[in-house]
């Protein structure tokens, strides 16, 4: 079923979703630059809709560490679900160091890890969700971020509840000195996915009809 749904996304839809996601993360990058005074490049090179198990497998692929750290926020509104920003646990400190800057000692980074991770995840996830909300010209009820740690199964299992599908986005997080690969996962139920697809379809139609409108 997962595969079917995923394959339901046409190439155009996938491109459109990736574009929407990139809009979101570039908005996040802008926020981070304001916070940090340093340019942070965030890109989403690929988008997939998969089942939970497949999502769990996808994050485990190519990672030596079986454990992950995730910033999770739930959202409610036109569609509902949970958004997760996921990194391999071994890269968590790396990410924090990237954010707080090199001037901090390792000990400081360890002290700041939890808060900094939560805030960074909050910024990125807010930006992505805000972008979707913006496209819908609606507001969504978004929760505060929580930092969770665990295996892929744990992230996509217990916390996922009844939400069966995952909009799975690869995210590259790059500064002058570092290059960190993570994932953004939006866990949603079928109606929410359908609503999302509607948003995507509308987005495509708007772009196609308003050809004079510059592509983002």
């Amino acid at each position: 079923m997962t595969v079917d749904i995923a394959s339901d996304l046409t190439e155009i839809e996938k491109d459109a979703l990736a574009e929407i996601a990139n809009l979101g993360v570039s908005r996040a990058a802008n926020s981070l630059r304001q916070m940090l005074g340093e340019q942070v490049f965030l890109t989403v090179p690929n988008v997939q809709i998969v089942g939970r198990q497949a999502a769990s497998d996808l994050i485990g692929r190519g990672s030596r560490s079986p454990r992950f750290v995730a910033v999770q926020q739930s959202f409610d509104g036109p569609f509902a679900g949970k958004a997760l920003l996921i990194f391999p646990e071994e890269q968590s400190l790396e990410l924090v160091r990237t954010i707080v800057g090199e001037q901090h000692s390792l000990e400081d980074v360890i002290d700041l890890e939890q808060e900094a991770l939560a805030e960074t995840g909050n910024v990125i996830l807010n930006a992505c969700l805000a972008t979707i909300a913006n496209l819908l010209r609606r507001t969504m009820n978004m929760s505060l971020p929580a930092v969770i740690r665990g295996s892929g199964e744990a992230l996509f299992g217990e916390t996922a509840g009844n939400d069966n599908l995952v909009l799975f986005l690869y995210i590259n997080f790059r500064t002058k000195e570092r290059d960190i690969h993570g994932f953004i996962a939006l866990l949603m139920d079928l109606p929410s996915i359908t609503a999302l697809k509607t948003i995507v379809t509308d987005y495509i139609r708007v772009i196609e009809s308003g050809a004079d409108q510059p592509r983002p």
Partner: protein, 657 residues
Amino acid sequence: MFNWESILDAIDAGVIVIDERRNIAAWNDWLEKASGRSASSVRGRNLFEVFDSSKLTRLQSAVADAFQFGSSSVLTHSLNTLLPLRDEVGQNLIHNVVVRPLYAEQITHCVLQITDVTVWVTRERVLRDRQNARYHAIVDSAPDAIITTSGDGTIQWFNAVAGRVFGLTTGDLRDQKLGALLTSQDSLTDIISAGDTEGAIFKSVAQLHGTKRDGTAADFDVSFAAWNADGRRFVTTIWRDVTERVAAEQALQLAQEALRKSNEELEQRVIERTNERELILRQLHESQKMETIGQLTGGVAHDFNNLLAVILGSLSLLRKGLPSDPRTSRLLDGAIQGAERGATLTKRLLAFARRQDLKLEAVEVQKLIPEMQDFLSQTIGPAISIILDIPVDIPPVKIDANQLELALMNLAVNSRDAMPNGGTLTISCRAESIDSSRLSPSLSAGDYIRVSLTDTGEGMSDETLSKATEPFFTTKGVGKGTGLGLSMVHGLTAQCGGAMTVASRVGRGTTVTLWLPTASAGELMASLSPQPPPPPLHKGRQLRILLVDDDFLVRANTALMMSDLGHVVVEASSATSALEALKQDTQIELVMTDYLMPGMNGIDLANAIRTRDPNLPIILTTGYAEIRPPSDLSFPRLPKPYTQDQLADIIDSVVKS
């Protein structure tokens, strides 16, 4: 009616409610205290006018997102500069801010919740400091140097001991590589420098020897542990200085080595000394054997000599007394020749037994040997060339010149016989000193001339060599040699205080070496003084002679020869009876006495006579050379056996002087 705003004042956190225009709608008690501004003074005012907006861009966008999209945001102290809040004693409040939209139909308000995390952060810091203090207490009190490097070998941190051991100061840390601390041949240092932390060596302790930056050599046991933090690789190295231990081990090893060598040397010396002892014992045994043979030979030769003297004397008298008859004369001549050959043989035996009558004088071998060369060449034939190697300044030796010539002749003949197909005979002389370190049973310390005769002949086997100096041992076959040649030479050298050695290898040749003592200065002078001319014969004068000899046959024979010469002979068979006779007969003009007699010997008798009458001439007769200097210088001597002519000559010379 319940005042809901009192709830806000009851909350132990800052609460600000703003409307869409960012105007403050609520400001609770907590904020009044923390900001120092009362609710009444800020209510209705724009939040970003109340606080300096230039530093709050993130808060501004968070607020905007909350109104526009319904976003909830967290702003932490770790990533943001937030509100200027202070606690009751004026310290900065460390705080986080949460921005949440308030939902009704629309988002009309937004709430900012400010949480004081000062206590939490402070606790973290205190804990961390404590933990660090404990950690540093452990690593700084560790007896070993502990150094942490990044994956590329750059030093990140080191403990106090490492600072002392390697002379590191914290100022050194920038770009300081671990490998620079120790210069070593060991490839391990390269690996450390290169930061190759993947190698299997990091699982174990390695021993390193090298030179520290201050130039001192040091040994370390180094253990490695690689670890990851913050996505980076680190290596902690623990260096235990084992320089003293290694030095002690090396010293111990050296000591053991020395002990082992010493043991080996000791064993070697025991073996050498045992061998030396065995050699000396063999030599002693050999010399004792030769001594015994010599005594035996000497005794036998002495008696034979006496008998030969009798025979020769009788025969010579008989020839005088018998009418001239060719047949009788031929028989007598044959008998005399036989007896003379017997006399020669006994002389050689006595020479071997070191009892020949030696006339020791200083002899210059650099003259004597070249003078012999022609004669030697004739004797050994033209097939053998003679090479002389004699330094002209070599000191003289103390020996009987005639006997030395005879010895050299004997040895040359031996060499000739060893070289039937010709060859070379080398005669070399060298001065040598024997000190106490080279003593042998046959040589005492002193200065010697080493006279060596080396031939290129067939040589001798060890077995032959061991018997070469024994009398009557000959390799020349029956009738070809007496077997007394080497024995004689051996006896001669021994008698004059030297020695003879023979070295030989089959097929390579033989070297006979004579060790002859050098003559002292006094002996040299004596020999240089001109020899007195032989006294003329004074035949015809009749003398009254006292003849003393315990051997009846010899005495009778000599008495006959004396009577035949016209002398009157008074006979005595012992020294005692001789002295008695001298008392009775005051007409005695000459005393001739045998040396070896029971009771008082010839020398004692002669001395006794000389004390009574210093002018009475005395002749000693002897078959032995047992009369030791200076006794032999005091009285003229006549060696046995002697002919009537020899008897007449000595009587004449004594009476004349």
